[in-house]
């Protein structure tokens, strides 16, 4: 294992984050604050509570998940797409590293950045509403697991994309709608029966439900199902990446 290479890639990516601090950190914090103002205060004042939790507190896990998914996918996809775009990826290919080191460096840095954003949003939420965390360790585990899994997913998108439009299309057209329709801002029990069933096909539901359970003991689907869903997606991403590096898909001719 080439540990120095992992460190080099990881530090390189984190340095990129520091160079774009406003965009990396300030923008998710601002957009989350806006969600709190609009959903939490304006609309929340009419909903008051969802299954015994104040609406403002209820949406916190969903909001964090929303940012976590978006950040993980965009960080990781951009991180690997950019060297492909500029051509500097030649150095990665010519270096004594296997895909394990490449993934650990790029995905590790992308996941780190999304976890930082998640924690900052959690702290920002404190300014607006009071909340408690029933299972802090499981909360941290969900946070980490989701960040890693969706960074892997973003890495795949970054390799698949051969222009900037493709880089944006999955986050914009898939992740955002799935997250908004993925019980981030409401409980599944608020939906008509048919839509409850349809919603269960949305994988993001399992993430948000599990994450919300770690806060309030309140779940739309069982915690086991949530863990199984995220683990299944993680394995699927790993298998895909293994295949990419074995075949050189869009990486090596």
């Amino acid at each position: 294992m080439n540990w120095y290479a992992i460190r080099a890639i990881y530090n390189f990516e984190m340095a990129r984050t520091r160079r774009t601090l406003m965009q990396s950190i300030a923008s998710p914090v601002l957009s989350t604050s806006l969600y709190f103002v609009v959903f939490g205060s304006a609309i929340g004042s009419r909903i008051t509570s969802v299954e015994g939790v104040s609406y403002g507190a209820f949406i916190i896990p969903g909001l964090i998940m929303l940012s976590l998914l978006m950040q993980s996918v965009s960080n990781a996809s951009f991180g690997i797409y950019f060297p492909k775009f500029t051509g500097t990826i030649y150095e990665i290919h010519s270096a004594p590293v296997s895909f394990v080191e490449i993934i650990a460096g790029y995905v590790g840095a992308a996941a780190t950045k999304s976890v930082i954003v998640g924690v900052i949003i959690l702290a920002t939420a404190r300014l607006f509403v009071d909340y408690h965390i029933a299972h802090p360790l499981l909360m941290a585990a969900f946070l980490l697991l989701t960040a890693i899994t969706f960074s892997l997913f973003g890495f795949i998108i970054g390799i698949w994309a051969d222009n900037f439009e493709k880089l944006q299309v999955i986050p914009m057209l898939v992740i955002t709608p799935l997250t908004f329709l993925g019980v981030s801002f409401y409980s599944i029990h608020m939906l008509p029966p048919l839509w409850q069933k349809i919603t269960l096909l949305n994988p993001v539901v399992y993430l948000v439900s599990g994450f919300r359970w770690s806060f309030y003991d309140l779940a739309d689907v069982g915690v086991g199902a949530s863990l199984a869903a995220i683990t299944g997606f993680l394995v699927a991403c790993l298998v895909t990446i293994g295949w990419i590096f074995r075949t050189g898909y869009k990486l090596k001719s």
Partner: protein, 320 residues
């Protein structure tokens, strides 16, 4: 030509550092970039790979370095297979690609340090400093790469390739778009590296430099290695010389008494050019001069010129 393939098919040299055996490459598009290539690079030599654009030079280098997957065949570097044992081979190799591809927002120091880490070595600021000083980049170490000129960026890429102290350095068209002074500096650096034991493989379009610098030359055309030869031997074997006589009085035509000699008359009739083979038993110069004197042709000046590698190269590529 009989000398073609003599070296390429010769037994492996005493101490080769890179051995390429039957390596070919066909891209997904169906384009065959390389026909089966056999080549061995000697430890510590400067080897120049010449060939027109699209001949397969970069493909061959890219396969050895791990950037392009090989087709058939095998490659070893220092006895290690480049596919099975890629960590061992790649850590020995430094690559400076043709395109200027740099991380524009990084500083010179950081990008060189990154390369060293990527190749699996612990930080060693003293080495990075030495490399940057050797390449006259030390004053620019804290500058972002995007603020540098093209020539400096080229040197940054060399610094990155040298950051992990490689035994083998690949320079793919290192002097493309580089001014004369910098080119001279770069060749001095290449010589110093060779003196320190680094094996250097370069591709270049500046053929006179290959002639100057390289111990051996390989010519590649349409994916085929058509010749590998000591530079000096090649010059010797294929070297034709031209003898130019500046005539005192212009001639309208070459007199019949001189028709036995391979002479050419310039358009204005003021110069006679005689082409001869330096390897031939008799160059024919004595006879020519005697015949000229007998014909009463007087001349003001005489000069001779050796064929350049470029002319040899163009001949070779054309004859295929």
């Amino acid at each position: 030509m009989t000398l073609l393939h003599t070296e390429a098919s010769a037994p492996v040299t005493a101490d080769p550092i890179i051995v390429v055996k039957g390596v070919d490459k066909t891209y997904g598009s169906g384009f065959q970039a390389l026909k089966p290539i056999d080549l061995s690079i000697r430890r510590g030599e400067i080897f120049a790979l010449l060939g027109p654009n699209g001949a397969g030079k970069t493909t061959l280098i890219s396969i050895i370095c791990g950037i392009v997957n090989p087709g058939n065949g095998s490659i070893t570097v220092d006895g290690h297979d480049v596919v099975r044992d890629f960590r061992a081979t790649r850590s020995r190799i430094g690559l400076v690609p043709q395109e200027l591809t740099t991380d524009a927002f990084e500083t010179v120091w950081n990008t060189a340090s990154f390369s060293r880490g990527l190749f699996g070595l612990p930080p060693k600021p003293a080495h990075i400093e030495q490399v940057l000083r050797d390449l006259s980049l030390w004053d620019k170490r804290d500058n972002k790469i995007l603020t540098l000129s093209g020539g400096m960026k080229r040197r940054v890429m060399i610094a990155k390739a040298l950051a992990h102290e490689p035994n083998v350095l690949f320079l793919d068209e290192p002097t493309a778009g580089v001014d004369v002074a910098l080119r001279r500096d770069m060749w001095n650096l290449v010589r110093r590296l060779r003196d320190s034991g680094v094996t250097i493989i370069l591709t270049t379009h500046y053929i006179e430099e290959a002639e100057d610098m390289a111990d051996r030359v390989g010519v590649i055309n349409k994916g085929e290695l058509i010749l590998v030869e000591q530079t000096a031997t090649l010059m010797h074997k294929l070297g034709k010389k031209e003898l130019t006589l500046q005539l005192h009085d212009p001639l309208a035509a070459i007199p019949p008494s001189l028709s036995a000699h391979a002479l050419a008359l310039s358009a204005d009739g003021s110069e006679l050019t005689y082409t001869y083979d330096t390897q031939a038993e008799h160059t024919g110069i004595t006879a020519l001069l005697g015949d000229l004197a007998a014909a009463g042709i007087r001349f003001r000046d005489i000069s001779t010129r050796q064929n350049t590698l470029e002319e040899i190269f163009v001949d070779l590529v054309r004859s295929r």
